[in-house]
Symmetry: C2
Subunit: 432 residues, 2 copies
Amino acid sequence: MEKTGVAIVGMGTVGAGVARLLLDHGDRTARHAGRTLWLTHAVVRDLEKARDVELPEGVLTDDLQRVIDDPEVSVVVQLIGGIEPAKSIMLQLLESGKDVVTANKALLAQHGPELFDRARELGRSIAFEASVAGGIPIIANISQCLSANQIESLQGILNGTCNFIVSKMDAEGADYSVTVAEAQQLGYAEADPTMDVDGTDAAQKLAILAHLAFGARVDWSQIPRRGIDGLQAVDFKYAKHLGYRIKLIALARLTESGLALDVSPMLVKIGQPLAEVRANYNAVGVVGDAVGPVFFQGQGAGQMPTASAVVADLIDTAVGRTSITFETLELWAKGHERVGLADVGSLVSRYYLRFNVQDVPSVLSKISGALGRNGISIASVYQHDVDLSKEGIVPVVIVTKNTSQSAVDTALEELKSVDAIDAVAETFKILD
Amino acid sequence: MEKTGVAIVGMGTVGAGVARLLLDHGDRTARHAGRTLWLTHAVVRDLEKARDVELPEGVLTDDLQRVIDDPEVSVVVQLIGGIEPAKSIMLQLLESGKDVVTANKALLAQHGPELFDRARELGRSIAFEASVAGGIPIIANISQCLSANQIESLQGILNGTCNFIVSKMDAEGADYSVTVAEAQQLGYAEADPTMDVDGTDAAQKLAILAHLAFGARVDWSQIPRRGIDGLQAVDFKYAKHLGYRIKLIALARLTESGLALDVSPMLVKIGQPLAEVRANYNAVGVVGDAVGPVFFQGQGAGQMPTASAVVADLIDTAVGRTSITFETLELWAKGHERVGLADVGSLVSRYYLRFNVQDVPSVLSKISGALGRNGISIASVYQHDVDLSKEGIVPVVIVTKNTSQSAVDTALEELKSVDAIDAVAETFKILD
């Protein structure tokens, strides 16, 4: 049987998982690839560090040059996080004639155009299924399986840490800080979870999906984003009462003025697939003009789910499918931007607005006045449990009909000066 | 731009949808294929029949030979149902050097080995994404995206008509016959829905998926199957009370004794993704040893969802991805059977058993005795609303712990002779 030489650069958790699949299940990969995927080098920084997998004699090395110089290695799995040295190493590998498989979303979200252009010039490919939503094959599904469609919208739960936290807050009525601590203890959140809980991770993934699905060239840092830090237990309770759960949603929607992107906690109707995504699972809902709504759910991270995506890419690269896809799709190629970004203010949805007020009757008329002046219709008003009020402050929740974010922003700005409104406590988009 | 000539044989609803995607959205397919997919012939039996799409001059024909003789046609979308003449036409197309894209699950479930062998001999390919679960790209996901995994089990809602009916019975407490009539009126069920409601359609699709996912060569007619005809409203009510919905599930599970296959109505825990699949949607849950559980949901039938799958296959075939996959996977090739079929009696699950009894206390001891003799433990006993009893007959529902189907069958056989048991009214597997 033909052999394809494979190297892994970066032997962290995922790297060890990839090595395990190649070493322990070679028959399986050979069956799907029609050839043996032969692990020749595993490049690490520290040769002494204990690892989660036993490698054959001579495979472990701290010398990247061995990979570069080995003509038998045609595909390299690059599993180094962050921007540098990951970027330089990837360019070096491409230039030495290797195809690359990566899981580094931050690198692609930031330097995709440059890296993909260089790979094209060199006749090489970059596969990146594992960079978004781990075990869910969303990259292949969007770029191949749904290719007959104009994708109209995409809604994702792309960060498992956040979903673990909001699911627990929803189920247990727990506070944010308590839940984060629990997630950290269970290994579902990093010691410093900032990049997860502030929406950065989800925005980087959304930038990649938005490029694939809509042909938009997006700087992830330009995507409006709001994280789950600061969410309050009380809103989960009110949302549930109204028939919703709160989820951190990465949203891309084609509008008349372009592609609207947003990462923020939103209300999702209970019973809708996205609302029922529990624990640390990821999920992506895609609406295509031909296929209608399609929904994918799975583990978005973790050693073996991510390794599953990496090895699928390895097989695709070894058999030649990746290079075909890479060539036809012209990913991140100059001049292939098909849609511009819309102002997120133009994104239309219903809204959940919670006000903390001191005097309900007089305030309601002021709120409805300000909303009305901005063309916002009220669908329902909900005044919750008076026992939650303290020192005369009562929460009032208003659900609006469809309106734009900019109309909501203007109305809330007007209401800031109303004395009897203690605070505009919370606003969420409602995902329909 | 390069052109690939495409013909459609069979211009029913789906054929018209495919033509529409090719004609109205040529830019889109060209972008994903890197070449123009150019519709040259649409072969029909009756030239006079009104169609859902306007074709360019000269495309419509009733002469298949024009396709066969046209060297510019390299891919043919064959959308004729049933076994013959579909099979002969497919062989003729392959022999004339055309790659084939099809949606005909019955043909593949019955004659897959012969057709795929012939295609291989001729160096041609058959793509069949649209044959199972319509718009859900389950074929590509199993055969490519999850290729790093040993798939351990697969649970599908593969028939939209059945899911429409059971979802409505669950939501509205309606009777089976009333609901079928409603489904027919709304176009969700055929005038003669037998093949859908008796599980035939789901079994044919399961045979195809079982081959792809497990390498089993399955004669679909050997798959144990039970349809949804005869389901009673009362069981939906009891199931819901216990926290479950009833769904027609196509199940494949790797066991120690081989691959167990089953198509039958089962209880699925409310909140589990499969339980929340509504209306005429299809869904497939797959568990892989690396990726863990992955879940896919979408429209399983209908003009444009099915056309979406067909055109994705067309693009894959035109760019060369299909031929790579077809070659490496050796689908239905002789000697590539990787697993034998297990006796469905060995399939282990919990069970829902409803007995109609005349005298609860005395009967319960007999039931628990018979179950106990067959090694079946009772998890809970539920005696429902006495107002449902008529003429002294009371329904008793028993939920068992894990047991095998054969143990359940033996125990129920023993209980047939107990006078005070009016009937073993219903048994369902519980899907965990």
